[in-house]
């Protein structure tokens, strides 16, 4: 009789463990995307500083900034809307400056703020740094 009780407990524990394991796997597999807009910026800096850090030592800058959330401010030198409705704001230089890409969902969320921004003005964008091609790319950004 006592043996059966022990067995029962073991079976239940096993089942509960299994449920936990599966939900953990399910969660990791479907883990939510980072919500960059809600994260605090790891660095707050000017676009000029970021550009000079990358031009000086790209590997070092990658180690420091890659995948980090940065709030970067500078003069808007170019604004363009892509065919997937995301927007790109170029800071300091249209070709070799900082390009902040705003995903279409965030464009919708920030319509009024974005429509006020014009070339020549200074603006701040917060996003995830994805590295440097000609320009330094800040993705998943939103205006501050």
């Amino acid at each position: 009789m006592a043996n059966r009780k022990v067995l029962r407990i073991i079976v239940w524990l096993f089942v509960i463990g299994l449920i936990f394991a599966f939900s953990a796997i399910y969660y990791v597999f479907n883990m939510p995307r980072r919500n960059i807009a809600k994260e605090n910026a790891a660095f707050t800096m000017t676009a000029k500083q970021l550009i000079s850090d990358f031009k000086k030592d790209e590997n070092g800058a990658n180690a420091k900034y890659l995948d980090k959330v940065i709030a970067v401010s500078g003069e808007i030198k170019g604004i363009r809307t892509l065919d997937n409705h995301s927007m790109v704001f170029s800071l300091e230089d249209a070709m070799e400056g900082v390009s902040c890409t705003i995903d279409s969902a965030d464009v919708v969320r920030n319509t009024s703020k974005l429509s006020q921004l014009k070339g020549g003005e200074t603006a701040t964008f917060k996003g995830r740094c994805s590295g440097m091609l000609m320009d330094i790319q800040i993705i998943n950004s939103s205006p501050e």
Binding site: V28, F29, N30, M31, P32, R33, R34, E58, N59, N62, A63, L66, D67, R80, L82, N84, S86, V88, M95, S99, T101, S130, G131, M132, L133, M134, D135, Q137, I139
Partner: protein, 185 residues
């Protein structure tokens, strides 16, 4: 009168020689697709930078590996951390292609042509020669280009653990789509 004519011709030649015959875009699309019976993996980036030099028939493409978006956040993480090792150094954080259009192309025709582009593809710190067939539609205000080609991850020393090898295609199909505008410096 004759002198004036000569000056005009001289100016024209000078202007056309001074104009840089380059087209570019910073918003080219690159997507790749690994399709197996177990899982379809699709990723896309809208942030590839590319230039075409019409005088030399040369073409360059580059994209940051961290700019690719996947259906699942976990795939993105695995792609960057385990496979592309994007954070390792600057050669790992981007993929590049530079090549030359080897078939004849008339940039003034405005007619779509299929051309062969021969060049080098670099990613994950490895450079390999590759020949790509591309569709190009020349134009004055914009040039359209697209291409599709296949690469084998192992050729670029991308190690895929045997446990997940069946989930990733032996050959990954890459599609490129760009709309170029004239480049003025």
């Amino acid at each position: 009168m004759k002198e004036l004519y000569l000056i005009a011709v001289f100016c024209l030649v000078f202007i056309s020689a001074g104009a840089q015959n380059r087209y570019f875009t910073k918003d080219a699309k690159i997507n790749f697709n690994s399709s197996t019976p177990i899982e379809d993996i699709i990723a896309e980036s809208n942030q590839a930078t590319t230039f075409i030099d019409l005088d030399k028939n040369e073409l360059v493409f580059s994209v940051l590996t961290t700019s690719f978006k996947f259906r699942r956040a976990l795939m993105e993480e695995h792609f960057n951390e385990n496979y592309m090792e994007s954070a390792k150094n600057k050669d790992f954080s981007k993929a590049k292609f530079s090549g030359k259009i080897t078939s004849p192309i008339d940039w003034k025709s405005e007619k779509a042509v299929v051309v062969e582009v021969k060049g080098d593809l670099s990613m994950h710190g490895v450079t390999k020669p590759i020949t790509i067939k591309a569709n190009i539609t020349p134009g004055k205000t914009k040039i359209l280009a697209n291409a599709e080609f296949k690469v084998t991850p192992e050729d670029f020393s991308i190690n895929i653990p045997s446990a997940v090898r069946d989930k990733i295609a032996k050959e990954v199909t890459i599609k490129v789509d760009a709309i170029y505008a004239p480049y003025q410096q």
